[in-house]
Amino acid sequence: MTLSQLEVGEIGIVKEFTDLEMSVKLMEMGCLPGEEIRISRIAPLGDPIAIHVSGYQLSLRKFEASTIILQ
């Protein structure tokens, strides 16, 4: 299951990444393996999404969310 499959309000825990380049950027922003992520909202047009992670709100595109595999 990837992060892009979660609905608003659902929570997942990061397991690993499918894309090395993206993972480096995501990890810098606090999306690390073991970290809890909650979907805060989805942009009005369906993409990007906003997530709550490491104590703050981060937005990323659905494609980028699909590189995050959840536990």
């Binding site: 090395l20 380049e21 993206m22 993972s23 480096v24 950027k25 995501l26 990890m27 810098e28 922003m29 606090g30 690390l32 393996p33 909650r38 805060s40 909202r41 942009a43 009005p44 047009l45 369906g46 993409d47 990007p48 906003a50 709550h52 490491s54 104590g55 703050y56 709100q57 981060l58 937005s59 990323l60 595109r61 980028e64």
Partner: protein, 704 residues
């Protein structure tokens, strides 16, 4: 001013770094460039409690020492490049106390470079309010550096920060955060050995960033490249390992020192605001309402100060012509330099208002929501959510808007934004449109509500946005991407705008515009003045001679005589000659040589069109009054056919030309400044001219 120590401010975006910088330095700051790159370098001076003076450098906000944009790459190169004398004696790392985890990543990277560090724990009031309890003493002890709680917004803890800076150690005493050597043992050891570097993290950063560090000698950079191959060093893998290790350290640190309440995050104020502002329907309604407001503000609020500035320059010009003896030098000063200066200054109100509003939107956190909402649409046409701001700004002036594209990290998205922004109908086109529409479009209402002239103007504005989008879409396929596009962006908590910051941004942007664009506009104005004031051979003398004959002096008033002479001189001047030369080229568009002169002189600034028309048609009385120019143009007839010159077809063809052509020396200059490559402004000039010619041609022949 000579500083005793140099202090650099480093921190994540949205941590109040700039506010802290403004408080520490007051208005005692200056903006320059970092060597070799167009990234603003803000420096200022701060008096320390021990009597010494500190030079404070505000480094661009970044989440990590690994750069994602041009601005961010400055941070490491300033800390690394010892040759420019910019390496700070002390770094103040600013951490957002209410969001410590992500903020600490940058701290651990900076700390491991082993430059003396002080931590400013900003927004301590916000975190206290949220019930976050930080054991500051233990926190400081674990890091091994002084930690000062401050609130930059409420100006609390500043004195303590200043004295901490004054009495900070000259040697780095901070604890190691991670074991750097294990990440890539061999290559770190070799770089340390061969480049005589003692810090392992510095060596590792050289391995990562050597390609982009301009100060590094080529042979050293090549040698590092060789070492990477020998050791099969993989930059991204090493960075991933490092980031995980750093967050492990951070999690341990926060576990011991920070207690957070277990309340649901969902009910924060920010979240409630987001529910409305990024709502499926209200979100867009509010966004368009704000856009309309910005639009209104740029036009209506600036009208009064703009006419004030214009009046001031007219007063200065007429005053000078009265006081100073007539001659070419005075004419150069009055009609060349001062006229050019007026063309620059008149935009200050619009630029100030635009940047005040933009900085309010950015400061409150709303701008990142706009980006969030618009990203999907903008991406479809090859742009980026962040391109929305420059495109809106383009309605005021392309110059500051192109300057504001710097925060678009993706190279391709940024270039496309720069390339299409000048298509957006800027305020300099407004006087041209107003004049031409009033000339040919009847002033009456259709369907009771809509004024025809208003509709025509709206159509020109819509056309500008549509053309920008279409061109962006085409360029999406032409330009090759340098890196993968991504959109990982913080949505900061909503905050009240900092009014001092807003005021400062207004001042700062206006100043940059005046100095950057001003130079070019004045230079072009002087060239145009020469072209308009001199003619080949003794033509000017002959005109003077001709009108000194009695047959003219008797029947004409001195005032109208001057006008006729000016008009005839312009016709025979170099500008007039040029107008005649390009006439065959512009004839298919319905333009005669008089319009040709206006097109040439509009290159300094588009609104010069009105003034040039006034001179060409030797308008009597006040040349700056739109009505009188309009009347003259209305009655102008083609000497060959006897029909009016400004027909509907010609006027609209001319408007098309102004809509698409790059007739703006300042924009050309600023595009060069931002891209550092003449090919970009050249390509832009070429495609816009081609577009202008084609559009005018089609419209002229369609309406003829």
């Amino acid at each position: 001013m000579k500083a005793d120590i140099r202090v650099a401010l480093v921190g994540n975006p949205n941590t109040g770094k700039s506010t802290l910088f403004n408080i520490l330095t007051g208005l005692n700051q200056k903006i320059g460039n970092f060597p070799g790159v167009t990234v603003d370098k803000k420096t200022g001076f701060c008096q320390l409690p021990d009597g010494r003076t500190a030079e404070i450098i505000d480094l661009p906000g970044t989440y990590s020492i690994y750069p994602k944009s041009k601005d961010e790459s400055i941070v490491f190169s300033v800390l690394a490049d010892k040759s420019k004398g910019l390496v700070p004696d002390l770094i103040v790392v600013i951490l957002d106390a209410s969001n410590l985890k992500r903020n600490l990543l940058l701290y651990t990277q900076i700390a491991d470079l082993k430059i003396p560090v002080v931590v400013a724990l900003n927004m301590i009031d916000v975190s206290e309010k949220a019930g976050i309890a930080i054991d500051i003493d233990l926190f400081a002890k674990k890091l091994g550096v002084p930690v000062v709680p401050v609130s930059a917004r409420k100006i609390k803890g500043i004195d303590q920060l200043k004295s901490t800076i004054a009495y900070a150690n000259k040697i780095a005493l901070q604890q190691d955060t991670i074991d750097v050597d294990v990440i890539a043992p061999q290559i770190i050891a070799q770089i340390k050995d061969e480049l005589k570097i003692d810090n392992p993290y510095f060596a590792l950063q050289l391995a990562h960033q050597h390609e982009t560090l301009s100060y590094l000698p080529t042979e050293q950079s090549d040698r590092i490249e060789e070492l990477e191959k020998e050791n099969s060093f993989h930059s991204q893998k090493a960075q991933a390992t490092e980031t995980i290790a750093r967050y492990n350290f951070i999690n341990d640190l926060l576990y011991d020192t920070v207690k957070k309440p277990d309340t649901a995050h969902d009910e924060t104020v920010s979240n409630k605001i987001d529910k409305i502002l990024t709502h499926k329907v209200f979100g867009f309604v509010i966004f368009f309402a704000i856009l309309m407001f910005i639009f209104q503000a740029i036009f209506s609020w600036s009208a009064y100060p703009m006419s004030l500035i214009e009046d001031l320059f007219i007063w200065v010009q007429s005053g000078l012509t009265k006081v100073l003896p007539a001659g070419p030098l005075v004419s150069l000063l009055v009609d060349g330099v001062i006229a050019g200066l007026s063309g620059v200054m008149v935009f200050i109100p619009q630029i100030a208002i635009l940047f005040a509003l933009i900085s309010i939107l950015e400061d409150t956190g709303y701008m990142s929501r706009v980006t969030f909402m618009m990203d999907k649409v903008m991406r479809k046409v090859g742009l980026n959510g962040k391109s929305v701001v420059p495109l809106i700004g383009g309605f005021a002036c392309a110059v500051p808007s192109i300057m504001s594209t710097r925060n678009i990290e993706n190279w391709k998205d940024r270039m496309i934004t720069i390339m299409v922004t000048p298509l957006v109908a800027c305020s300099a086109r407004l006087p041209v449109y107003t004049l031409l529409i009033a000339l040919v479009v009847p002033n009456r209402n259709v369907w009771w509500l809509f004024n025809l002239q208003g509709l025509a103007l709206t159509a020109m504005y819509l056309l500008s946005i549509v053309s920008a989008v279409v061109v962006a879409f085409v360029m999406k396929f032409i330009l090759k991407a340098r890196e993968r596009g991504y959109f990982i962006m913080e949505l900061p908590v909503y905050r009240m705008p900092r009014w001092k910051n807003v005021a400062f941004t207004m001042y700062d942007r206006s100043k940059t515009f005046v100095f950057q664009a001003g130079k070019v506009i004045i230079a072009v104005s002087i060239i145009l003045w020469v072209l308009k004031s001199y003619g080949p051979g003794d033509t000017f003398a002959r005109i003077d001679q001709k009108y000194s004959q009695q047959q003219y002096t008797k029947i004409m008033t001195p005032d109208s005589l001057t006008k006729v002479i000016a008009s005839e001189k312009l016709e025979t001047s170099y500008a007039g000659v040029f107008g005649h030369v390009i006439e065959p080229v512009i004839k298919p568009l319905g333009f005669d040589w008089k319009i040709g002169i206006a097109l040439i002189s509009s290159f300094a600034a588009r609104e010069v069109f009105v003034g040039t028309m006034a001179t060409i048609y030797s308008v009597e009385g006040d040349a700056d009054k739109l009505e009188s120019v309009q009347q003259k143009m209305h009655s102008a007839t083609n000497p060959d056919t006897g029909k009016p010159v400004f027909t509907l077809a010609v006027a609209f063809s001319l408007m098309m030309f102004y809509a698409f052509a790059m007739q703006c020396a300042s924009t050309v200059a600023v595009v060069y400044r931002e891209t550092k490559d003449w090919r970009w402004p050249a390509a832009q000039f070429a495609y816009m001219t081609a577009l202008a010619y084609t559009a005018s041609f089609i419209v002229y022949h369609w309406l003829k």
